[in-house]
Symmetry: C2
Subunit: 178 residues, 2 copies
């Protein structure tokens, strides 16, 4: 079955500081036309840091778009197009938690909301952690804490961790490390 | 630690068919100000259908925003503000796969991309399935297929399933049903 759609026209309808929103005319597999509104995104990384004691480092962060404080793993956008995902993940880990990792395991891709968000996140597990100073971006407020990985899994199953990339990273880490 | 941000001003900067994009001025926890660009969303549901034989029903769907065919579980937006999540999940399941479920298990919330997307997804597991006709929305092209749940888990771990809600639903279902 043919599933792909072809771009016919593309219009940048809002060019913000963070959000670059496009409205494209596309040709559907049956030859008819439709419009697609979507956010173009430079790409991002997230990283689940596991300490030598088997604890996960997590962050509480207020997310304005959903008006909730969410529990998340460290994450952030690429600094420039084509930046190495692993280097970006090491940077975000250090800036947000102060941790430096001696081992980074690539856990593959995550598309969190692909109907609208063109955000491609590459996911890593960080091990062999040592700790230094944090260095938050301006206007970034985080509360960092640690829980055993088994407790983090329970927090996902109980519905206390609702951020998608964090749910995936915790459940995958639990399966990989058991 | 104070984490919450307060709305100072709100502006609708793009009011599309699907995307409603806002740019708000917010007061940060330290009393300074910042701007937040985000997509307001009516809410959505997703549902992992498990057959009596322990198979998962999945869909291949082209996602224009990421220019990939993704493997996903059935999902869709609410039809109106305040629609019951479970009724919406039953509808999307029936429309996209033809399945009717006699048991729906609430698996809690999923926020796929909360830095920008104000999309709140409620996740369900559907069991006790019987099958009738599909009824796709106009312009919706899907390829429906089934795999054993254990194989779906391997597809997540091998990086073949990259849609976030689908990764979460499969890994959680495997933990709940083992």
């Amino acid at each position: 079955m043919e599933l792909w759609e072809k771009q016919v026209e593309s219009e940048l309808v809002f060019d913000g500081a963070v959000v670059h929103l496009y409205k494209d005319k596309v040709e559907l597999p049956d030859g008819t036309y439709s419009m697609r509104e979507y956010v173009k995104h430079i790409g991002a990384v997230c990283v689940i840091p596991i300490t030598d004691d088997g604890e996960v480092i997590l962050e509480r962060q207020y997310r304005y778009s959903v008006d909730r404080v969410l529990i998340e793993i460290p994450a952030g956008k690429l600094d420039y197009v084509g930046e190495d995902f692993c280097e970006a993940a090491l940077r975000e880990l250090r800036e947000e938690t102060g941790a430096v990792a001696s081992e980074m395991i690539d856990m593959g891709d995550y598309f969190g909301s692909p109907a609208i968000m063109g955000e491609h996140i590459r996911m890593f597990m960080a091990k062999g952690l040592t700790f230094g100073e944090t260095e938050l971006d301006e206007g970034e407020f985080l509360e960092v804490f640690k829980v055993p990985l088994s407790e983090a899994v329970e927090m996902v199953l109980r519905g206390e961790i609702t951020d998608g990339k964090t749910q995936v990273a915790i459940l995958r880490a639990a399966m990989m490390l058991k």
